[in-house]
């Protein structure tokens, strides 16, 4: 097992040594990494670069980082407008997802300012999914809008393992959308969510999911860490249940991990609130539920509990089997090999961590 950590200054690859995790190699040193994805079908590593000067780039490796290739960047078509009179240009690559076994070369790509792209040839060419781009809600600045960023962005893509034409995306800010016809049409899927920052918190579109994941063994169970708490659906998004720990810590945050066998297990890393983006009491903890969100347990063993200013971004927590790892805005990397019961600091002097995944 390898651990890929995307930071604002490069990609760091760790491997499990005899008794600990060691850095194997650093790639793209000095370059901001916006996305890290490993395609489980081919073990292809994908990296999105967010150059300060030179724009967004996509690189991939088919030999675990020994060599890298670059692909032509997805392009918003000539004439595509973010808003009337405002040409759309790619601001950031946020996420990638393989399209399922029935589409062996298929890759979905989520970007800012809100464009979903699709490739049929393993990423050699991407096309904008016009059906979503032209969805009436996207064209409405009251429904799709930027919040933490200047523009809305697609940060989560879930492909139903039973049916690759059934796909969910999550947009910050807009909410969750679903297609059941392979992307020909899209419908919002936000019933039960709360948009507490809007005059009408029950809007159909205008929500702020921070990250969305679905359980592979039970694909109708989908979790999201949202700006307004933690939500879970057991019926494929027909209705979302608020599973926030209203009297506890598991509420506001960005990162989320789930168990892909047990639909009742999930992990989040709380912050105080949107106005106070620090760990509660300046003490870092991971919250875990084992009963579908009815209760949450704070896990602190091995994590800093005093004057800790670490925040964990949405793509910076990953889980594989019993191992969880997360990287923080202050360049710390923590890892647990017992489902989060105890943690150790693997690195304490990285750059800001923006993406963590296992290979």
């Amino acid at each position: 097992m390898k651990l890929l950590v995307g930071t604002s200054k490069g990609l760091i690859v760790y491997h499990r040594a005899v008794a600990s995790w060691k850095i194997e190699k650093a790639h793209f040193i000095g370059m901001p990494i916006s996305m890290v994805y490993t395609d489980p079908r081919t073990n292809t590593w994908w990296v999105g670069l967010a150059h300060r000067h030179w724009g967004q780039k996509l690189h991939y490796s088919q030999d675990e980082g020994r060599s890298w290739q670059v692909v032509p960047m997805p392009k918003y078509p000539a004439g595509a407008e973010y808003r009337p009179g405002k040409p759309a240009t790619l601001k950031k690559v946020w996420c990638m997802q393989q399209a399922g076994p029935g589409r062996p070369g298929g890759l979905w790509l989520g970007t800012e300012p809100g464009g979903l792209f699709y490739s049929e040839d393993n990423g050699q060419h991407f096309e904008l999914v016009e059906s979503l781009w032209n969805h009436p809600s996207r064209l409405d600045e009251n429904q799709w809008f930027g919040a933490g960023r200047d523009y809305p962005f697609i940060h989560s893509i879930v492909v139903d393992p039973r049916d690759e034409n059934h796909v969910y995306i999550a947009v910050s800010c807009a909410g969750v959308f679903e297609t059941t016809d392979g992307g020909t049409s899209w419908a919002p899927c936000n019933t039960g969510l709360v948009a507490a920052y809007l005059p009408n918190p029950d809007v159909e579109v205008g929500h702020d999911p921070h990250l969305m994941l679905a359980c592979r063994a039970y694909p109708d169970v989908i979790w999201q860490q949202n700006h307004c708490g933690i939500f879970r659906t057991a019926n494929g998004g027909q209705n979302w249940d608020n599973v926030t720990d209203k009297n506890g810590l598991a509420d506001y945050g960005f990162a989320l991990a789930i168990d892909h066998e047990d639909p009742d297990k999930a992990w989040v890393i709380p912050a105080v609130s949107d106005e106070m983006r620090v760990a509660p009491d300046l003490a870092l903890c991971v919250c875990r539920t084992e009963n579908g969100g009815r209760s949450w347990q704070a896990l602190r063993r091995g994590l800093p509990q005093d004057h800790c200013f670490d925040i964990v971004f949405r793509h910076s927590l990953a889980k594989q089997h019993n191992v969880l790892a997360f990287g923080t805005t202050t360049g710390n990397l923590y890892l647990s090999e017992d489902y989060g019961d105890s943690w150790s600091c693997v690195s304490s002097h990285l750059a800001r961590v923006d993406a963590v995944t296992f290979s």
Binding site: H51, R52, H53, W54, G55, K57, V70, P72, M73, K75, Y76, A78, P87, T89, L90
Partner: protein, 90 residues
């Protein structure tokens, strides 16, 4: 024939990039010529709508180009086109 040179920062991505003579009567034409020699380089300098990236500058014989949208500044035979990254960072 005009010449073009580049910030050395681009050599990380295009190691053989060097100062050279290029055909072209506008900045846009010059960049097309460079793209033919170094496929992909245009995407580093321009966005997908063909505009100069926000943090990239192009100087034409010492002066910033005027047309950053469509790159129609005229280039003379004795001009030097200099592609440079703007200062920003941390």
């Amino acid at each position: 024939m005009p010449t073009i040179r580049f910030t050395t920062a681009l050599q990380r991505f295009f190691p053989t990039l060097k100062e050279q003579e290029v055909a072209g009567r506008t900045v846009g034409e010059v960049l097309e010529e460079v793209e033919a020699r170094y496929p992909g380089i245009k995407d580093y300098v321009l966005d997908e709508q063909g505009r100069l990236r926000q943090h990239v500058n192009i100087f034409l014989s010492g002066e910033l180009i005027e047309d950053k949208e469509t790159l129609q500044d005229k280039v003379g035979d004795n001009d030097e086109v200099y592609v440079f990254q703007a200062l920003s960072g941390g």
